[in-house]
Assembly symmetry: C2
Homo-oligomer: 341 residues x 2
């Protein structure tokens, strides 16, 4: 069924239409709707009524062209599954929501060509600023070229000290995880993490090892066990670990996926979690953590906060307060059954 668009395509009503209907000039209509105080209460009321009778919505293009601000910021992500981007987007929208700003997300899928394309598209639409979200936490090269608008890097920092970045503090998070396990009286603590080529894996390990050293302890098993981010690595790592070090009483996994593998292998060995071995993960990915048996204690990267702070810094920069440097965000411990019985 092909239908001609009749009313649909009808031209949006303009300020001119409103003015005509209200019987005033365009200028007066503008003042009335924008809350300028040089307009009589009665006129204002008439204009307002005319406006919503026509369901008038001001043309942001025209306004942007005139005042040089569009009230729009772009969020450029590289995420393939939205696990990072959506929380960051939500945080940014929270920060923007107060005012008349909107946040629009584009996905570059980790492809430099696509990224350039989207940057151009966003800039030509005159966004007031850009938030760039990485897919990994490694520092990244800043956007190339004279952009003309401020940029904040989120999740993954820019490798230029002149840029603004907001990132989760993975080192502190590693410390926090160990501190939690120590506070439960555990002392033979292993750390099974993911691909050692990831800064996230290295950072969390650095924090964990430091916290252990400060408590006068070594990592159980003699070293951090790096591997991959998959569940299967969690399983095989635990098996090898417990063969060599059967008295381990806690395992800090570098991700919830790994932790799921760890839980399974520990259970299959006939050991109890958390009684024999406390297990914790990282990411606080609900679908993995709260469906685990037992439910998984994890570390939340507070990505919504990352997004909110990134947007706030961006707005500040748009007002001329460019404040360079990397801003760390504290992660949050989410305690569930796998560490406290």
């Amino acid at each position: 069924m092909t239908v001609e668009q009749s009313g649909q395509r009808r031209r949006q009503s303009t300020l001119g239409d409103v003015a005509k209907l209200a019987g005033v000039s365009i200028a007066t209509a503008s003042k009335a709707l924008n809350g300028r105080d040089q307009v009589a209460p009665l006129t204002r009321a008439k204009v307002r009524e005319a406006a919503d009778q026509l369901s008038f919505s001001p043309n942001a293009l025209a306004r942007g062209l005139l005042v040089g601000r569009t009230g729009t910021i772009g969020l450029l992500t590289s995420d393939l599954e939205g696990r990072f981007s959506i929380p960051v987007l939500m945080g940014a929208e929270d920060a923007a929501g107060e005012g008349a700003n909107s946040v629009f997300l584009c996905d570059a899928r980790g492809d430099a060509i696509r990224e350039q394309h989207h940057v151009r598209a966003l800039l030509s639409r005159r966004v007031d600023g850009l938030i760039v979200v990485g897919s990994r936490t490694e520092p990244r090269a800043p956007l190339r070229g004279r952009l003309g608008v401020p940029v904040v890097y989120a999740y993954a920092p820019s490798d230029s000290a002149a840029d603004m970045s907001v990132v989760s503090d993975n080192v502190a998070a590693g410390r926090m995880a160990i501190a939690h396990l120590l506070s439960l009286g555990r002392s033979r603590i292993a750390h099974i993490s993911g691909d050692p080529g990831y800064a996230a894996a290295q950072d969390r390990a650095t924090g964990a090892v430091a916290a252990l050293h400060e408590a006068g302890l070594e990592v159980a098993g003699g070293r951090v066990l790096f591997g991959s981010w998959r569940e299967s690595w969690g399983r095989s790592a635990v098996e090898a670990l417990l063969d060599r070090e059967p008295d381990v009483d806690a395992i800090f996994a570098g991700s919830d996926q790994i932790a799921r593998g760890v839980l399974e292998a520990v259970r299959e060995r006939g050991l109890s979690v958390p009684d024999d071995i406390a297990v914790m993960g990282f990411d606080n990915w609900e679908v993995l953590a709260s469906n685990a048996r037992p439910q998984l204690t994890s570390v939340d990267m507070q990505l919504q906060t990352v997004g909110r702070l990134a947007a706030e810094r961006l707005f500040a920069a748009m007002d001329g307060k460019h404040d360079a440097g990397i801003q760390p965000v504290q992660c949050r411990l989410v305690v569930r059954e796998s560490t406290v019985g």
Copy 2:
């Protein structure tokens, strides 16, 4: 360190700047850059050079104001974790990428107020069209008010027959799953699904039961086992099922999460997957399906295709070809180890 924005804030260069640098008029510069053929090759070259020397990017606001099209479509989602939205966004970007169109995503988080807010924001920025992505597959009420631009509903259809919708065909997917299991010689097939209040659960079950009937079979266990979408439901459902019907040789789970629970319970009972019982899931959620042991056969909802088709219909509608009705998208079977040893 607070730095004054010096060069950053510098005004974007305009067509006027380019024209001046190239020593031609604004009109000529415009024609040269837009590939009009009423311009001498030499002049065109000069203008082009001037343009990228100034890294000129045409102001889409001004163009949009004039020609009444912004080359921008809005993707309004309600997703809290991006699992649906990001694939749909990617598909829509694929469709848009050919031309000069861009897709921007906003997240309403399933909140009607936020949705209205975002619709207004998008319309005031004069998007050429809207794609609305639901968080559940139930038909939803269409966007209210005279929008003035075409809308396509994706994943969840509009409940108005006059609207355009693109959705995954869950009924056919249910049939497809059963057909797969039948083709492997299984005949005592159970279906464990999620919350019966979800259309997705009902639709998949409808397809599954129909396919079984056509093969002269009944659902093992006598009825579809509805519960929740959690892993724990998969586990407990299997335990109850196998107590009553120990000869079940295949289980079709309504989601990958449920399937994970099923796999675990089956294994703990000492049965082998797929030798004793073939298991399959739904969603093809990589992190769950390919990390499972054994890797999980699943059904992919082809969300990227849904996004692409939605965008294509939207572009057609923008050209005046409004084609109402619900367009189903075939799901795809992804075979892994849990059904074929």
